[in-house]
Amino acid sequence: MFKKLPTLPKLQQHLLSLLVSVSGIVCSIVLSYAYYLIDTNSVNIALIFIFFLILVSCNTVGYLYGIVCSLIAVLCFNYMFTYPFFTLNFSISGYFIGFLCMTAITVLISTLTSHLMIQSNLAAEREHQLAEAEMEKMRANLLRAISHDLRTPLTGIIGNSLTYLENQGHLTEDEKADVVRNIYEDSSWLINMVENLLTVTRIGENNLTITTSEESLEEVVGEALQKMGKRHPECVIHAKIPDEFIMLPMDAVLIEQVTINLLENALLHSGSSEPIDFIVENRPQEVAFIVRDYGHGIPKHMLNNLFSGTPSSTLEADVHKGMGIGLVICKTIIDAHCGTISGRNHEHGAEFTFTLPKKKEERLPEEGRV
């Protein structure tokens, strides 16, 4: 209960605390009186009071309610349940110590519980801050990856077009064609990257949620492969999907993007022209998508932070142009689907696997994870 209290507005918190205190006192008096009618053992009655005082101090804000209640309780106890009955009398020896102890116990408990409440509030806040920091980190990573990956082709476009404009007179036809082809290639690469980034805007800003609908697996895979074929006509992909008809909850455009990103990475960064394997496995709880290439594999130093978006050393950066954003985006998308994504090396190259759960999961995607 004391976890819920702090989320209410201040005034309501205090009203609630007051209600709890009053009802606590009333309950303890009524119960004590009922007990008193059966048995006049004042020790047990004191225990009843203490029990309710603990309840009150656990469920009120601050120390004050607990302390005030404990004083009232002591007065009531003295007035009603100790000899001489229905008079206040602290002078009988032993009584005074008993009352003092009772007051001390309740004050101590009030202090403890309110301390506990503050602690749990702090913990919740820390958790929230941590989640926010994670989100912030993800954004920063994405931004860093973007600016890094976009600068290279833009430099290429500017350089090539300036070359054309400044040297138009003495470039041969072949050279002109080369320059324009370079501009074309760089800008095609750029537009793909921008499409990639645009897909991320489909994911909810704060809680990383997406709208999923039941989609036919083979259609999503089919379109992704078709787009790959259009973009890279030379690329050979061996696709193998389960025979049965499978519907999966997903955002089809996003999953298509993940598939294309992984296939494109396999094509451009494996350093091999061997056909790429694309395998879909129907597992009991999930569907796994596996992209396997037969190239030189993932460099060792990159294995640990494949999906973090941190560019590797500058020398490497140009070689692996584009891997940065692509994989960060894949991870973001798959996390939003409550799936998993991982990359590893097999004997003859690299292998990336992502999975999607079959049932729409009850749990929300873990907030803030990249």
Partner: protein, 231 residues
Amino acid sequence: MAAKTQVLLIEDDKSIASFITTSLSGNGYRVIHALDGKEGLSLAASNCPDIILLDLGLPDIDGCEILKELRTWCSVPVIVISARTREQDKVNALDLGADDYIAKPFGTAELMARIRTSLRHSYTASPEKVYRAQGLEIHFEKRLILLNGEEIHLTQIEYQLLTLLAENSGRVLTYHYIMNAIWGPYMDSNNQILRVNMANIRRKIEVNPAQPRYVFTEVGIGYRMLENESI
């Protein structure tokens, strides 16, 4: 020589308009260019173009409004040009009567192919008798489907679905349109039944349903069948 086919281009971006105009002229079309929706509508009325290329994001009027307006008085084929990421816009435009759409960025070859397909569908008054492409043959009158010479057996619904796509080969048909044409307007909007039937058709005519050769999916929009080669 026959009169040149006239294309009306409604596009506000000068750079894009310039390259479309250049490539269309190079392919033997005559191009009229409108910079905004109002000009586009008046040029459409005064010039009677054979086909209209319409950009959805115009400065003055929303592309869909222009489409609605156009469809009240003429049936000239319209190809919508749109940014790639917003499927709903494309679906709306298609359901409002656009013949096809092409997503930015596109190459000239793709644009020319789309224009040819749309023009062909608007010129041929009677439907074709045979669909033929890459080993698949559909004889509409005989209700016969052959794949590499062998007969393929489809259920009633599957046959209707495949022939609907074949009659409109090369064009994208939205889920909504197909559901309406085959199951009627009172079917609920869940198109799972359509997906299941399509999956069954693919298992009968495609070698690998994940890499289809005949019926392509446009995720979130609908299906497009490979162009009929027999025309």
